[in-house]
Amino acid sequence: MPAQEALEIGLVEIRTRDLQRAREYYEAVFGWTGTPVGDGSYAFLDTGKQPIAALYEIGNRDIPVGVTPYLLAPEIDDVLADVAKVGGEVLAPKSEWGAMGFWANTQDPWGNGVALLQPRSAWSPSYRAAPRHPIVWAELRAPDLQAAVRYYKRVAGWSFQVKPGVDHFAFRSAGSHPVGVGLVGGARADLLGQLTMYARVDDLTEVGERVGRAGGSLSQHSKTAPETGRIRIAYDPDGNAMGLFEDGPRGA
């Protein structure tokens, strides 16, 4: 059977308790300008490149803050059927999302929340800015790496790669797709608290300083990402994580 057409991440939604504060933070740190829509509890952030980002103000304290990637799906119903077949959970069924189209929310068997967006027409946000600190990577907990590779193959049509000799990590390369994906398996998965998106930055040190000035915080140390560069985790004022990724000499 030929592989299915892969689903790509088109939108990254960041839940916040204070939309105005979050807008100021993401503009100050990443240069993403916000455009409020609807009743003012939602704002799109112009990253200049797919995926676009969005802020969603959640008043209900029962709903945690967090970061959720949206996969662009031609038919949400088909994806939800696959999610159910391979052990995932449908957290929110397919619903209308105004002029955007339809959405649904799911969770994989390892607790990673991945939402779906079925746009009414071809997904082509009108970026006003040049790409600034684009979101390029998603890292997911996958204690059972084999099962996770099978899950995302079925649900999203993703194929994963490995580095010979490295048995705890499978990845979907960033070079050929808008957003690369890493599955962290085995015992190392336990070190990963939550699904983490990463934005590419030119200068990790400089952006890190902006995080502090804008009211966020940073993971203690930067780490060297295999082959590619340096990473550090930035936490916004709500505690949402956004990885900072600085290219190494070889690039991503």
Binding site: P2, A3, K153, Q161, V162, K163, P164, S173
Partner: protein, 215 residues
């Protein structure tokens, strides 16, 4: 109607002007791309689809881009690869599809022979390793004594001295041979300087005794 592989391969970096320039300067294509012409790769994909290839072995993977792209397109039931891992010493990454059965070593070694035997039947074997005549001939001898349906070679045409061994072997081979040859658009070529040759089996043919295995 078959899939449009030219379109499906658009995101796959293939041999381009930059690769060519690096190759002309250094004699080695120090570039993390599929070392194939995109047009010829599309022809290979059409053949894979037409022939219903479900298992694939690549000997000589460079950075792993080709085996990865093919596995993404065809979701093979079984995918295997062998490479000595030279790219890592050249500062390039080596990445392979998840679930690949990988032999990290010399395809002319006794260990490889044992690994290949254990691998069992494979629909398509692509030989794209050491291009010197003796080396590619040894890869062919091993491949044709193992159960498979199709054996392919890269670099069967052109005048690159580095591929002379493959061209000589290709000329010498007999049987049902298919040539997948198209100019590389990304180099503005009028004639191919690479080409993929495929020998149709099944292999081993009668008379190719197990006892003849080299190594």
């Amino acid at each position: 109607m078959g899939r449009d592989f030219r379109r499906l391969l658009q995101g796959v970096p293939c041999w381009n002007r930059r690769t060519q320039a690096i190759y002309e300067q250094h004699g080695v294509p120090l570039h993390d791309v599929v070392l194939q012409s995109r047009a010829e790769l599309a022809l290979l994909c059409e053949l894979i689809e037409r022939e219903g290839v479900r298992s694939y072995l690549e000997i000589g993977v460079w950075t792993g881009r080709l085996v990865t792209a093919l596995h993404e397109l065809f979701d093979f039931d079984r995918v295997a690869a062998a490479d000595i891992g030279v790219v890592e010493s050249l500062g390039l990454p080596l990445r392979l599809p998840f679930g690949v059965d990988f032999f990290h070593g010399d395809s002319h070694s006794a260990a490889f022979v044992a690994w290949r035997r254990a691998l069992g039947p494979v629909d398509l074997v692509l030989i794209d390793g050491d291009h010197r005549y003796d080396a590619v001939r040894a890869d062919w001898e091993l491949a044709r004594r193992s159960p498979c349906r199709l054996i392919a070679f890269h670099d069967i045409v052109g005048d690159d001295p580095g591929s002379a061994g493959v061209r000589r072997l290709w000329r010498e081979l007999e049987g049902d041979k298919i040539e997948l040859v198209a100019p590389n658009d990304e180099l503005g070529q009028r004639e191919s300087t690479m080409g993929i040759g495929v020998v149709r089996g099944p292999f081993p043919r009668p008379g190719d005794l197990e006892a003849d295995w080299p190594g």
